[in-house]
Amino acid sequence: MKMLIGFEVHQQLNTDRKMYCDSPTNYQDVPPNTNVCPICTGMPGSKPMPPNERAVNAAIEIALLFGCRVITDELIYIQRKHYDYPDLPSGYQRTSLPIGINGELQGVRIREVHMEEDPGQYDPTLGTVDYNRSGVPLVEIVTEPDMHSPEEARKFLRQLVRVLEYSGKVRPEAGGAMRTDTNISLEGGGRVEVKNINSVKGAYRAIKFEIIRQKSKLERGESVTRETRAFLESQKITVSMRVKELEEDYRYIPDPDIFPLIIDKARVEAIRASMVEPPYLREQRLVKQYGIESTAASVIVSERELADLFEAVAKEIDPKLAATWFRTKLKKVLNYMKLRAADVKFTPEHIVDLLQMVDDCEITPEQGELILRQLVKHPNDPRKILQELGLDRIKPEELRAAINGVVSANPDAVRDYQAGREEALHFLAGKVMKLTHGRADARKIIELLRTKIMGEK
């Protein structure tokens, strides 16, 4: 069955000040209603201050990252969108006309990028409103309905979040700061909009639920009416909010208290010149520039800081070796320790030294991984870590002694191997490794064991 899926994604911009006043934006760190002023609480008579320039620049950069055409030398009106809700101090939300239009990401067309302001936070149980969040700048990204399965939608949304994180212009606590609405329509049914989704996972679940719901309705011969539904995260279902006939009329008017924005070309070009390279372009470039596999490149660009680290390392050492290490060992260690690349403290030089040691067969890859683990915890010169861990390469006589010991302590296994059972040799090698605390190269152990048992050939 043919289906069309689109998104409207809202994300907070990480400016220090709110959109139309000087109140700080760290609303989560302070007691309720302390980051407020007459403007963001909509006190009678208060007027907005001129729009936060940094927020506008951030929105321009995000529009560029999604390949949008930024609207230049035209009036971009800030509109009032009227609706009645306790968290909205003035009874309307300010929302700009598009800053950028006609972009694209992963084959999905981006219809527009515009700016909004966050409302306060209403607690229906207590009946209280905290205006600390009121007026925090938001960017909204609207896609065309170009996705055709929940999996495709999830993949796109992940990529979109990655681009936003990459920009460094959105609030880092992406989980709470991202809000998305999604629209889903099946062939033969009306378009259904689902609101109140707070994560990529939530979006996936909401879409899956909707498809099943709409499909079974259509199969029963019922019609799917055009409506707005809300996603209930806890129950993983959607419920009807309002049908089309009752759709709210927001009575948009240009806000008479704000001059429309005019973005000149020079401003856009200045932002373009200094903006971050989006991950999808960076992935392509890494493959081309360093001759690495695209699977590795894709992992490397998953975090901006990881990719930065890679590029610093790849300048000093074989990029292919580095790519393999980044894709497998480093990513594994970070995942295991639940760390992001942005959190690590070691330097590119540390990694370069470590890989050089592996490349020179000074240490084994296994030892390298042990050092890497330590490097993440306590950044230091890899050689020092090697010594601290007692991992410096074993002396030949020590290794030979260990082999002799293992061979004489395990006569059964030796006999098995002599009888042609190859796995017995691996068993013995494991014993040697344990005895030597992994300081010897596995291939060397195997070789020595074989010689010892079968005699020189």
Binding site: D249, P256, D257, I258
Partner: protein, 456 residues
């Protein structure tokens, strides 16, 4: 004529009159006259203390501000920290301002003393001063008649001599109309000259705060204090220096003054007679009188009432009953409700093209027309209100009430300045001459008013 404010300032500065004496006298007048004229809603309990502080400065020979010791009344839609900005509505009857409007900061900075909050038409919706939830205001210059509106209390307080100066706000004539009926000087400045931060909205694209004074000098002085750029709001003109007082002259040589036949078509002939002789006077003072075309002038009225209602609907959404106790639609008077409902109706998505957009188009036509006329001349003079004020309590239809605004609305739609001075009386009722100036032609406009005042 025209020396009242200057004389008062000099007396205070020369220690012939203390600020405390001036404020006490104002407050005595207030308590004596207010029961009859109802110009004030709430006096400022701190006024005497503020006056004492200024006297101290004066007695020590310290530098004092331009408004030192003057008693100033503030329209109840302007925030003064600690006082009630009720907008003369039950909606905000318990709202105590938490901050000073930018104009208030500037007045206090120049040592002006706020003696209280003045009465007004509810949310500035009215042209008669009768829609206040705190009762109508009487006209001190013509008792029993309306004082005009919506800045009814500020005009009446100035006319009765309770306050030395007052602030009002003008969206479609709300300063000029009551100034005309009460026989005082009232100025609507160029849109964007005076900060609106702290002014409770009627219609944001039209509202402008301005002064009332017994003389042109007072109005020019107060405008000088409150005017000029404020970085903390968006819609302002980039004007850093404002000075008007030193540009007031006694003659009008070299000035080109326009007037229009259109005014005559719309105005009571008895009023026009007074205006005609005022224009002759201006000619005597050296001005060249030039006829200008304003063919669409009267179309400003319907355009205004649509645009204003949409903006007012938007502005009043915050009065939803959650923060201020009362939902506006539940407690407001008929005229406020009429405007909210009209705004709600015509801002509907399906009607945008039909009403709001067309009203904006008409606004553009009126603006271009007025701008074109003001290219040919320095100012345009004519009547302020096309008809005489009615007796308090007379029942008028909304259209009859709106008809007071024909001649004042175009200046708001175009964003130009306009000032009013008494030109004569008809049966004891003052009639005001309106002088409209270019964008930021406030100085020229004041100069014409002043020359007329000195020579009338």
């Amino acid at each position: 004529m025209g020396e009242v404010t200057k004389a008062k300032l000099e007396a205070i500065r020369n220690l012939d009159l203390s600020a405390v004496e001036n404020i006490q006298r104002a407050l005595e007048n207030l308590s004596k006259l207010n029961p009859r004229i109802n110009a004030f809603i709430g006096p400022n309990p701190d006024a005497i203390a503020q006056a004492e502080a200024i006297d101290k400065k004066l007695n020590r020979g310290e530098q004092v501000g331009k408004l030192a010791g003057l008693a100033i009344g503030i329209k109840s839609n302007i925030n003064v920290k600690g006082l009630r900005a009720t907008c003369a509505s039950k909606t905000l009857e318990d709202y105590v301002s938490t901050y000073d409007a930018e104009v208030i900061k500037r007045i206090l900075n120049e040592d002006g003393i706020i003696i209280g909050m003045t009465n007004m038409d509810e949310f500035a919706c009215g042209s008669s001063g009768e829609t206040s939830a705190f009762g109508a205001t009487d006209n001190p210059a013509a008792s029993g008649y309306i004082p005009g509106g919506s800045s009814s209390g500020s005009a009446a307080a100035t006319s009765a001599g309770i306050s030395d100066l007052c602030l009002g706000s003008d969206t479609g004539g709300s300063i000029r109309n009551p100034a005309s009926h009460c026989g005082v000087v009232g100025v609507k400045p160029t849109y964007g000259l005076v900060p609106r931060q702290g002014l409770i909205d009627l219609a944001m694209s039209l509202d402008q705060i301005g002064p009332f004074a017994p003389d042109v000098y007072g109005a020019a002085l107060l405008l000088e204090v409150i005017g000029g750029f404020n970085p903390n709001e968006c819609v302002m003109l980039d004007v850093r220096e404002v000075s008007y007082v030193d540009k007031l002259k006694e003659d009008l040589r070299g000035m080109r003054i326009g007037t229009s036949q259109k005014f005559r078509e719309l105005t009571d002939p008895r009023i026009m007679k007074i205006i005609d002789s005022a224009i002759e006077k201006l000619q005597d003072l050296g001005a060249e009188i030039i006829n200008v075309e304003l063919p669409h002038l009267e179309k400003g009225l319907p355009s205004y009432y649509l645009i204003m209602s949409v903006e007012f609907f938007s502005a009043t959404r915050k009065f939803d009953g959650r923060k201020y106790g009362k939902r506006i639609e539940d407690v407001c008077g008929d005229e406020v409700l009429r405007r909210i409902l009209r705004g709600r109706y015509i801002s509907r998505k399906e009607y945008r093209g039909k009403y709001y957009q067309r009203a904006l188009q008409v606004r553009t036509i009126i603006r271009e027309e007025l701008m074109a006329a003001l290219k040919k001349v320095d100012v345009i003079v004519g009547p302020t209100v096309p008809k005489l004020p009615h007796k308090l309590g007379t029942s008028l239809t909304p259209m009859e009430m709106y008809a007071y605004d024909y001649l004042t609305i175009p200046a708001n739609l175009a964003g130009v300045c306009g000032g009013v001075i008494k030109a004569g009386e008809l049966g004891g009722i003052p009639v005001g001459l309106q002088v409209q100036g270019k964008v930021l032609g406030d100085g020229e406009m004041l100069r014409v008013l002043h020359a007329y005042e000195v020579n009338a």
